[in-house]
């Protein structure tokens, strides 16, 4: 009975995924320049959201500093693009700041492969480093969250201050070519878009594998009771570091793609507000479900664009109100709502439903 119950559901789900993938792959055929660009941006954010969901939804670690990892990935790609655009000349902002020679750490970014690798390795490495100093010392919860905010402020301040090396507040912009092809041609844009779709699907599959594996179950166990897992013999800090690094790597990947679509990266993208907005994507979509993260990212990024275009003076009212409505009427985000409706319709009690409240207070008594 259980099987027959499960089977059609699986099939529906697979069908849904297939339709979604087809729609995404064929988007260049029916979307205009701006729309395609916007969608590509949404998809890049969806990748960050996936990583954040892995971290928050499944491991219970709230990072309000993912803008940094996103930005580091973006800067890695941007450095490459900037060097390619400049040809043999120094990037313009270095010129203004009086540099005469390309700084040594810029040199290797002339290679695309190196830049692409760094766009993932640097964020992941930084996450491992921060994770090492925090998780191992059992810094967690809000204390960890605050540290990620400190990370944001430190990074942004350094990027703004080191104008000669980073372009300061202006960031890096003005790219022209990739692999020798003009970035602004339609084919190039379509290719970059398709690359993003592929990246998103790969990221989704990776995350799915992670959360379905026993590793994923341990992550959720850590979320529910970090100390309890210790007494089962697990070392939570290693799991947390792994999740954090994977999540940061995904953010870096997203950043690289973002730069290709938007054509600029600046410290504003790493700052507090974008970092928080990245988390909100997950909340809107539904934490603890990967597809929720993707849906949340796409819907919210689109909604922001639409609302601000239609009501430039008042759109924040609508955006703010929609956050409130989501939390009050749709705990568990869009996906949570869908599940609730599904449950209401089928009157079925789903055993492995999302945990809406990872922090279920057991007891404040003695252990």
């Amino acid at each position: 009975m259980q099987l027959s119950n499960l089977l059609p559901r699986r099939i529906w789900l697979l069908l849904g995924y297939a339709v979604a993938a087809a729609a995404l792959f064929s988007a260049p055929l029916y979307l205009g320049d701006f729309r395609l660009n916007l969608l590509a941006k949404c998809l890049a954010f969806a990748i960050v959201a996936l990583g954040l969901d892995l971290l928050w939804g499944y491991t219970g670690i709230l990072s309000l500093g993912h803008g940094v990892f996103f930005g580091l990935g973006a800067y890695a790609m941007a450095m490459h693009l900037k060097l390619v655009a400049g040809g043999s000349r120094l990037p313009d902002f270095m010129d203004w700041m009086g540099l005469t020679k390309l700084p040594w750490f810029w040199e290797p970014f002339k290679s695309f492969a190196f830049a692409a690798l760094m766009g993932i390795v640097i964020p992941a490495g930084l996450a491992l480093l921060l994770g090492f100093f925090t998780f191992r010392n059992r810094i967690r919860g809000v204390y960890f969250t605050i540290l990620t905010q400190a990370l944001v402020i430190i990074t942004v301040t350094l990027f703004v201050g080191q104008q000669a090396y980073t372009g300061g507040t202006n960031g890096l912009t003005g790219y022209t070519k990739l692999f020798g092809y003009g970035l602004k041609t339609d084919t190039a844009k379509t290719m970059v878009y398709l690359a993003t779709v592929v990246a998103l699907i790969v990221a989704f599959l990776v995350c799915r594998f992670l959360v379905k594996s026993r590793f994923g179950k341990v992550l959720r166990a850590i979320r529910d009771g970090e100390n309890r897992t210790r007494f089962l013999g697990y070392d939570p800090s290693r799991y947390q570091m792994t999740a954090f690094a994977v999540s940061a790597a995904l953010a870096g990947l997203a950043g690289m793609l973002f730069v290709l679509h938007v054509g600029i990266i600046s410290p504003t993208m790493m700052a507090i507000v974008p970092s928080i907005e990245m988390v909100l994507l997950v909340a809107i979509g539904g934490r603890g479900t990967l597809i929720g993260a993707v849906i949340g990212a796409i819907i919210m990024t689109q909604a922001k664009s639409e609302l601000s275009a239609s009501y430039p003076d008042f759109w924040l009212f609508f955006l703010g109100a929609s956050f409130i409505v989501v939390t009050v009427f749709m705990p568990g985000g869009i996906v949570g709502l869908a599940r609730l409706l599904n449950q209401k319709l089928t009157r079925r009690r789903n055993a492995d439903e999302v945990n809406l409240n990872p922090v279920v207070r057991e007891s404040n008594g003695v252990v």
Binding site: S213, F215, K217, N355
Partner: protein, 262 residues
């Protein structure tokens, strides 16, 4: 009955901001022993278990474990290392992973390599599935295995935690009030289960249910105000005036004595 020592605690002292919850407490456990640890509320029983499994660090004293991996000074190890050495713990208030299903709770508790890499590649083998199913049967949660553990009743959580502990297959099981909230019959069943387990392992049980202690204990250690008060068979302990005074209550001793002869 000749057996080797598996755990020795020597003059363990645990203090919280100067308050000594456990003081100069020594405890020697023989391999394959079922030991009961009793004592008044606040005597330091839970704290003693905490010291053994690494939840608190003793201010003084040694805890040495003579397990499969040789002799180890437990106080120098981190919690997860101690658990990996083979010391398992059930806590006084049910401590399960409320967001995981009953099944998943058991799956991650099951004896296995606890590394990140290993869990990434782990798959549910047929033998694993059978073990878990058998355990589910034993703890009576078979039809709730797909339910989130946070939704279980108090007693069901206790059972689940016992199940997790058993699947973990530690060399020493530290059980803090395992039969609290169970019906009399369930208590008996648990006692029998424990006697089964000690054939292969060592068990320490903290319990206030004297009926249970009397039925299943061979050796009882009584703590009081952080110190050892008495150690011996249940009969010896029960006859001890100080134990009666601080713990059993006069009436209870008489009542129990009658109960045991009846």
């Amino acid at each position: 009955m000749k057996s080797t020592s598996i755990l020795s605690c020597e003059k363990v002292t645990v203090s919280f901001d100067g308050f000594k919850a456990v003081q100069d407490m020594s405890l020697e456990l023989a391999s394959g022993e079922l030991r009961f640890l009793i004592g008044p509320n606040g005597a330091g029983k839970t704290t003693m278990l905490d010291a053994i499994c690494g939840k608190v660090k003793p201010a003084a004293g040694n805890v040495t474990f003579h397990g499969k991996q040789g002799t180890v000074d437990v106080t120098r190890r981190k919690e997860h290392e101690i658990a990996q050495l083979g010391i398992g713990r059930k806590f006084q208030t049910p401590s399960i992973f409320s967001g995981l299903t009953v099944d998943e709770n058991l799956e991650i508790a099951m004896a296995q390599n606890r590394g990140v890499w290993a869990t990434l590649r782990a798959s549910m083998k047929k033998s694993d599935r059978e073990r878990i199913d058998a355990e589910l049967e034993l703890i009576g949660l078979g039809d709730k295995k797909r339910l989130r553990a946070g939704l279980l009743s108090h007693g069901e959580k206790q059972w689940l935690e016992i199940g997790m502990m058993l699947l973990q297959e530690p060399e020493i099981l530290l059980l803090d009030e395992p039969v609290a909230g169970m019906t009399d019959k369930e208590t008996d069943k648990t006692g029998e289960l424990l006697q089964e387990i000690v054939r292969k392992r060592t068990v320490v049980v903290v319990e206030h249910d004297m009926e249970f202690v009397r039925n299943f204990a061979s050796k009882v250690t009584v703590m009081h105000e952080g110190k050892l008060l008495k150690e011996g068979s249940m009969d010896e302990v029960q006859r001890d005036d100080r134990v009666a005074e601080v713990y059993l209550g006069r009436k209870r001793r008489d009542f129990d004595a009658i109960g045991s002869t009846a």
